[in-house]
């Protein structure tokens, strides 16, 4: 009896008195001018050329600053969420500078991970493409420098199109009938390789129809995925994942990589791929037999707004070498090194003049730079987006429609409900 009372008192006391652990304020006052600058960059399948460019930048940086070393750690993209969460929770294990995806920005900033950057003093910054720089901003404040950008366009098989006497689509609405026709005449081919989990292929369909995932009103987001325009886009995209174009049993579970993989394997007549997919497609059975055009918009001659993916370089809030970290970011993201990174990795630069320079010298890039110039769009810049992505809200919605589990109205309404719950929490 006495024991029970004791346990009860202890329990109540513990719940009232204690709270889950929180780490303290992360920003430190010190700004050392020597020592080691720690940098996290993403590992890539073929990292060699990237590493060479980074090493070059490091030796230039170390030459300018005596007593300073730069240590680079390459982290896996797939486990980045855990690595960054750990770094935010324990500033001692955190780097000073980090590369990160622009869709992760809002979540990282609200977690208190990155510090605001002042780019005014940096002369090159005025040439950054504004819509791309916007992907590095939260509530009007800049937290990163866009290092490279990635956009998607329409890849198609020139041999198949010539054989069947077809021309690439000129409007978004032409894609489905065209793809259907190809599969009808060549049943071994997928008309267009679209994936149920390929969010960045689906978004242009929603945007081109005048819809959006969510709309911002007074700093607060509300889901707009259930608007008439967005629903039209969802219907257009899900139409592609049907037995007569891209059979759900093959395509419903595919994300971007798997969708492009079907094109690489020579099993698809079209797909939506990024400028960054070029090397892998060139090393596949589709090599030399394909061309790229911008994904067309609603009207002939227009371009569907593409998702402006890409990576940023930022300075961590807990850094003890703020000035050095800032300088290193500005060096690695400079025009000179972006140009080098383009040569090494094919990464599209984020400066308008450098972009023009590389696309003038390489015709392949034209559809992508045209897409960029036509205006890109982005996912909602709020920490809630990371949650919505983790909970796979949009892919689930698309998959529900293509499997016939729900119709477009119900699926979008349910997705809107889940999103609004995330936006308001």
């Amino acid at each position: 009896m006495r024991l029970k009372t004791f346990v009860a008192v202890l329990g109540v006391g513990a719940v009232v008195a204690c709270a889950p652990v929180q780490s303290g304020p992360t920003s430190s006052g010190t700004d050392e001018k020597t020592g080691q600058v720690r940098v996290w960059l993403f590992d890539e399948v073929n990292r060699g050329p990237k590493e060479t460019v980074v090493k070059e930048a490091i030796s230039e940086f170390q030459g300018k600053h005596s007593g300073v070393t730069v240590d680079v750690q390459y982290i896996q993209v797939s486990s980045r969420a855990e690595r960054f969460k750990a770094a935010f929770s324990d500033p001692k294990s955190a780097p000073d500078v980090a590369e990160f995806g622009n869709t992760d920005l809002a979540g990282y900033v609200s977690a208190g991970g990155f510090s605001e950057l002042d780019l005014n003093a940096w002369s090159e910054s005025k040439d950054l493409v504004p819509t791309i720089l916007d992907t590095a901003k939260v509530d009007g404040k800049t937290y990163g420098v866009p290092w490279f950008v990635g956009v998607r366009a329409l890849y198609y098989r020139t041999d198949v199109f010539t054989e069947l006497g077809l021309k690439p689509p000129t409007t978004l609405d032409e894609i489905a009938p065209l793809a259907r026709q190809i599969r009808q005449r060549k049943p071994e081919l997928i008309g267009i390789s679209a994936g149920g989990k390929y969010l960045f292929a689906a978004l242009p369909f929603i945007w081109a129809n005048g819809g959006d995932i969510a709309k911002q009103d007074g700093g607060k987001y509300t889901a707009a995925i259930d608007s008439a325009e967005a629903k039209a886009g969802v219907a257009k995209y899900t139409e592609l994942i049907k037995d007569d174009i891209c059979p759900p049993a093959t395509c419903a579970g595919n994300g971007g990589d798997a969708s492009v993989e079907a094109f690489r394997a020579g099993k698809a007549a079209m797909t939506i791929g990024g400028d960054f997919n070029r090397k892998s497609v060139d090393a596949s059975s589709a090599a030399g037999k394909y061309a790229v055009v911008p994904l067309p918009g609603k009207t002939a001659g227009s371009i569907a707004p593409a998702f402006a993916g890409g990576n940023l370089l930022g300075v961590m809030k807990g850094t003890q070498r703020k000035t050095l970290a800032n300088e290193f970011v500005q060096l690695l993201a400079s025009k000179k090194y972006q140009q080098k990174m383009y040569t090494a990795m094919g990464n599209l630069p984020t400066f308008s003049d450098v972009q023009k320079q590389v696309s003038d010298s390489d015709k392949f890039l034209e559809p992508f730079t045209k897409t960029l110039q036509a205006g890109t769009k982005f996912v909602p810049v709020t920490p809630a987006w990371a949650k919505i992505e983790a909970q796979t809200v949009v892919p689930t919605m698309i998959q529900e429609v293509v499997t016939g589990a729900k119709n477009v109205d119900t699926a979008t309404a349910d997705a809107a409900k889940t999103m609004n719950a995330a936006f308001s929490s």
Binding site: V15, A390, T403
Partner: protein, 294 residues
Amino acid sequence: MTSKGQGRTAFAYLTPALLVLAGLLAYPIYQLVLISLYDYGQEQVSGGAPLTFLGLGNYQNLLGNQQFWTVLGQTVAFAAVCVVGTLLVGAVLAILATRVRTWVRMTLFLAALGAWSTPAVAGSTIWLFLFDANFGFVNEVLGIQGFSWTFDKWTAFGLVAAQVIWCSFPFVMVTLYAGIKAIPGEVLEAAALDGASAFRTAWSVTLPLLRPIILVVTIQSIIWDFKVFTQIYVMTNGGGIAGRNLVLNVYAYQQAFAASEYGLGAAIGVVMTVLLLAITMFYLRALRRSGEVL
């Protein structure tokens, strides 16, 4: 020595074990319950936002969510199929092992140990290769190239259940085999002398003697199969098309931990712990009622 003194000595001897238990069990559960009462996301962990006490808010949120109940139902059914399958396969092979020659038994045991020792991720991936729609060995043998096992909800669940049974039957088999071997020969001989049939011996002699062991492997299997994560996560690519192959653990990971909603995740953890405790208690009571001495 007085009885009070005796009690104290006993307590002193038990202290090290109690301390270990408290550190490894009580404290994590205490933290889990505590976190489940707060709005505890990444912002709160890294100190970017203040903590808000929600009381039972996370639980209300969870229990009011229809998907949670669907997933819970799927988890229970999936675990039930896996437990029954594991026990059946394990028991049949254990009996088989007692009847065959040494080298056959050795081969069986080695094969089973191979399955047992394969890491879950590797095992799941190998199964996926075997059942790949276009290049898989199974489809080639069956002549159904292009058939996707992981697309349809039921074939996907069936495939994962088969994989789970494959990697968990060895434990049941080895344990039951040891149990059967431990039954004194005289008892079986006595049954034979009394003229009992093989079935009668199995039903009235072997089975009752094996009950404590069956009890242990059943509870183990229930707990394991209820908590399946890797196989579903790897083989159905994070819960299947439109999340129709989700089980509770994967659901908790996706909704709560990947989304940095640790409070909600902790609430799911608490619910799972309570459920498993309840199932185990219920099972133990049912056994006790049927006359088993535990």
